[in-house]
């Protein structure tokens, strides 16, 4: 009896431990092991940081060559003082891991198709697509290049060693919260993961194309209508390189090649890359500023997340002292300044991803033909470990063009090969940021950015000697006219890119007469640029920016802050007066009158407490849909996807051709013109806004926008609450939902340099830290923090929270 009692208790105890150490499946969700997660010694309670308690610490690492001092300022920004860059990168890796380890793990898993290892079969299709797109292939190619550059490679290895030094010392109780929630352990960092990080940026920034929609549209509508609907250049644009800038080089000539249409591409719609991401940067010369010194500004617009996209830091070595934001997973400062120069980036929209139709020898699809020659497919086997399941493998066919991403019979892109710049070899991103750190003038900057190849960026520059400059930097394929706009014939080698535009021929400008350089994702050049390029370009922010900068003088830092937060929309200014002119309608009651006069008196600024910008947004959407109903009708009847005209084209049509037959609603017998379209769409918009106001009488733009910053792993509780902001994708303050200015920076190159910045988040990646989102409210209100470029660790002791020493 005693034995039975004892054994029963023993069994129950063991069962209890087992139960509390196992995850619980509940439908699609998995609850972490309760005992493991809740116990206050190694569970989640350990992740709650003690508020206001900071301790000085010292560490020893044999990897270091000398002592490194780090002081943290009040925003938890580490200021790293090292004797050389290699040591500085080691400590950068260590500190970044300390604050952002889970983010680093998740980001590299997501890009390399390894989410299923931690999340199970639910993410398998996503994982497969990432690898089929060749993201790992691309990172491996980049790393092979980096390995050839001895100094930079050893710097990269030092960063990796720093991250791993942190990971190695971790006890389960120290794991970041998300590891505990998802019940897995951190794995070692690697150089490849840093390369994956760069490729993840390339995927978000330079993988947009419209090859299939364009091919279908040209096939369905014919050349004349196609050219009418989809012109590549907006006559009203204000390009990055000022109009009529002479080109002081003789262009490389390439053979002409007429595009051959490869037929209609039918079947299921497919998901396109995330919405347009934009950015602004500019530099004004001393002639236009109050201080007489140049001011540089940059606000890269990205998908905003918590933990934040950027990690802020200062790196000081005997030869230079720089400050700015870094990508958590890559050494160096990506956007920032030192005491002599400043640099910033916006995305270049050039299309660098093209599709080719493959001519197979037979339906085994192991051999294909280029120029009558038989080529063999290379097979790349991808293996996926899956949590709670057996591993699976997937085979990707690689042609000379690139990988075949889609093999699913129902996919419209089935069997097309991808040629993508990010797969290409030949860059050394590590060196770019090493060289920028020590750059003292224009020549240094120019030399440093040469190696930056992908994703192409508009890299702006200002130096304290007074120079300002901007280079459209990247590796750009040499293309014949229209090449890459449509799906091309992959059996003809003449359709290959004709090499690359020489870097010296990239669009660039230095000290222009107008006294400023700027970019906001618009066209790089006017039509006189001797090389063909197409892509996704923004048509409104660039014009606003250039007009405002042109009109400004005696510019101060406060003026620049106001400009970054400017909510004026050129789209609204272009379209609304026309729409009001053609509107054939009279207000019938007080509410009508309120909506109508709100629109009429609106100054085209997307301010957060207004109603008019919402009404305009609804109205333009409805007008756009009504105008292009021919296209959606064709899409439905032919079961294909078609290209839609850009919004500026729609506005231009309303302005120049209000009687055009495209305004006719094909479903009615009557012949409609712009007047009817404008009026019909207004009535629909009015319905929508009335419904909003019925639900909430205080409805306004901020409520409509629902600006918020989601958690990077989509755990809602770790995302931000709704933020009250204005702004619009077409305004300089390009806040839209969960996209927006991911870092606002303003640098005046005076002596000493003055800098301000803010980003939507905080330095810590830990949801249990007060520094997880402490800058968010400042960002939403358009406020800034002054940035401290410290000369030594003990320069401003009252600004310092605590210090760390890293010794060898």
């Amino acid at each position: 009896m005693k034995w039975i009692k004892f054994l029963l208790a023993l069994l129950l105890s063991a069962g209890l431990v087992y139960l509390l150490n196992s995850p619980i499946k509940q439908g699609k969700q998995t609850i972490p092991p309760l005992g493991k997660f809740l116990n206050p010694f190694s569970g989640f309670w350990k992740n709650g940081e003690a508020v206001g308690q900071h301790q000085n610490k010292s560490y020893q690492f044999s990897e270091l060559s000398a002592k490194v001092d780090v002081v943290y300022d009040k925003q938890l920004v580490p200021h790293i003082f090292a004797q050389n860059l290699k040591d500085a990168y080691f400590v950068q890796g260590y500190i970044t891991a300390k604050h952002r380890l889970w983010q680093m793990d998740l980001t590299t898993r997501a890009v390399s198709g390894r989410l299923s290892e931690i999340l199970g079969p639910i993410t398998l299709e996503r994982d497969k697509l990432q690898r089929r797109k060749g993201l790992v292939f691309a990172a491996e190619n980049a790393l092979a290049d980096w390995e050839k550059q001895a100094e930079d490679y050893s710097n990269l290895q030092s960063y990796t060693a720093g991250v791993n030094a942190y990971i190695k010392a971790l006890q389960p109780r120290d794991y970041p919260l998300e590891f505990k929630l998802l019940n897995y352990s951190p794995e070692a960092w690697s150089n490849l993961k840093s390369a994956l990080f760069i490729k993840s940026m390339a995927q978000s920034l330079c993988s947009r194309e419209k090859d299939l929609e364009s091919t279908n549209a040209l096939t369905v509508f014919g050349q004349e209508v196609f050219d009418f609907l989809y012109p590549e250049q907006n006559p009203k644009q204000s390009p990055i390189i000022p109009k009529d800038t002479p080109w002081d080089f003789s262009p490389v000539s390439i053979p002409e090649q007429k595009p051959v249409l490869m037929g209609l591409f039918e079947h299921n719609p497919y998901p396109k890359p995330s919405p347009f991401l934009g950015s602004n940067n500019w530099a004004v010369a001393g002639s236009k500023t109050k201080s007489g010194k140049p001011i540089l500004c940059n606000d890269p617009h990205l998908g905003m997340t918590l933990p934040a996209v950027w990690f802020e830091l200062q790196i000081s070595t005997p030869e230079a002292n720089s400050y700015g934001v870094s990508l958590p997973g890559f050494p160096g400062i990506t956007i920032g300044f030192n005491d002599k120069i400043s640099w910033g980036m916006t995305n270049v929209g050039h299309d660098v991803l093209d599709y080719y139709k493959i001519l197979w020898t037979d339906n085994k699809r192991e051999q294909y033909i280029i120029d009558d020659q038989i080529k063999k497919v290379k097979f790349r086997i991808e293996t996926y470990k899956i949590k709670g399941q057996e591993s699976v493998t997937d085979t990707v066919r690689y042609t000379e063009w690139g990988p075949i991403v889609y093999e699913d019979k129902n996919h419209p892109m089935q069997d097309l090969a991808t040629q993508w710049l990010a797969h290409d070899a030949g860059s050394n991103e590590v060196s770019v940021f090493r060289k920028l750190h020590t750059s003292v003038d224009f020549d240094d900057y120019y030399n440093a950015v040469q190696e930056f190849k992908v994703p192409p960026q508009n890299i702006v520059f200002a130096g304290n000697s007074g120079d300002i400059a901007l280079k459209v930097q990247g590796k750009f394929p040499l293309k014949t006219f229209s090449q890459g706009r449509f799906i091309q014939d992959g059996s003809n080698s003449a359709n290959d890119w004709h090499g690359y535009i020489p870097s010296a021929h990239n669009p660039q400008v230095k000290n222009p007469e107008r006294g400023f350089v700027s970019s906001a994702n618009q066209h790089s050049t006017d039509t006189t640029y001797p090389y063909y390029y197409l892509g996704n370009f923004e048509d409104y922010r660039g014009r606003t920016l250039n007009e405002l900068l042109d009109s400004m003088s005696s510019i101060t830092i406060e003026d620049m802050m106001a400009l970054q937060n400017n909510n004026y929309s050129h789209k609204a200014a272009d379209a609304l007066p026309l729409m009001l002119r053609y509107l054939d309608w009279q207000p019938g009651n007080d509410l009508d009158e309120k909506v109508y006069s709100g629109l009429k008196d609106w100054d085209f600024h997307y301010e957060k407490d207004l109603l008019a910008p919402i009404v305009f947004t609804y109205w333009f959407d409805e007008f756009y849909q009504l105008t292009w109903d021919e296209i959606s009708a064709k899409e439905d009847s032919l079961e294909i996807e078609l290209l839609y005209p850009e919004s500026w084209r729609t506005i231009a049509l309303l302005e120049d051709n209000p009687e055009h037959s495209f305004f006719d609603n094909k479903e009615t017998k009557a012949l409609e013109t712009a007047r009817e379209m404008v009026t019909q769409s207004f009535l629909k918009a009015l319905e929508r806004i009335k419904e909003d106001l019925e639900n909430d009488p205080d409805f306004n733009l901020a409520k409509y926008k629902r600006t918020h910053v989601p958690h990077i792993g989509r755990i809602e509780a770790f995302g931000s609450t709704l933020l009250s902001t204005g702004g619009d994708g077409t305004a300089l303050n390009a806040i839209k939902g969960t996209h927006g200015p991911s870092w606002r920076m303003i640098v005046e190159l005076s002596d000493p340099v003055k800098a301000y910045g803010v980003y939507p988040g905080g330095q810590s990646g830990n949801p249990g830290s007060p520094y997880y989102d402490n800058m968010l409210a400042y960002w939403a209100d358009g406020k800034y923090f002054e940035k401290l470029l410290l000369k030594s660790p003990d320069e401003l002791p009252d600004q310092i929270l605590f210090e760390e020493q890293y010794d060898k």
């Binding site: 005693k2 509390l20 116990n39 190694s42 709650g48 508020v51």
Partner: protein
């Protein structure tokens, strides 16, 4: 007196064990303390329960108050309305169960060799 001493032993040993060993070793600590108890099974269970529940509750409470509730409030959203206080209670309850079962098992183990009361 003995009771208080046992509770104290549970708290100190439990704290030390979990500081260096995996979290579940707390049940072994409770078993060892249970082994030294001459009382009834129920008493052993209650002592173990109380000792470890107290240990876990105090540490969870301290962690939460030093953190000014930042993390617990986030978890309140994650676990749909589980307030910081109820999280502390659940933590204590789980610790208590482990402590109680460990102590009971140890106590019953003792009785296999040393017949005590009943």
């Amino acid at each position: 007196m003995k009771f208080l001493f046992q509770i104290l032993a549970l708290i100190i040993l439990g704290y030390l064990a979990q500081f260096i060993l995996p979290w579940w070793t707390v049940i072994l600590v409770a078993a060892i303390v249970g082994l030294s108890m001459e009382k009834s099974g129920l008493r052993a269970f209650l002592t173990g329960f109380l000792g470890i529940a107290l240990l876990w509750a105090v540490f969870a409470f301290l962690a939460n108050s030093q953190n000014e509730g930042i993390l617990a409030l986030r978890l309140e959203k994650l676990f749909k309305g589980m307030s910081p206080m109820s999280l502390i209670l659940i933590t204590a309850l789980l610790g208590g169960l482990l402590g109680g079962m460990g102590s009971l098992t140890g106590n019953l183990g003792r009785k296999l060799f040393k017949p005590g009361i009943r």
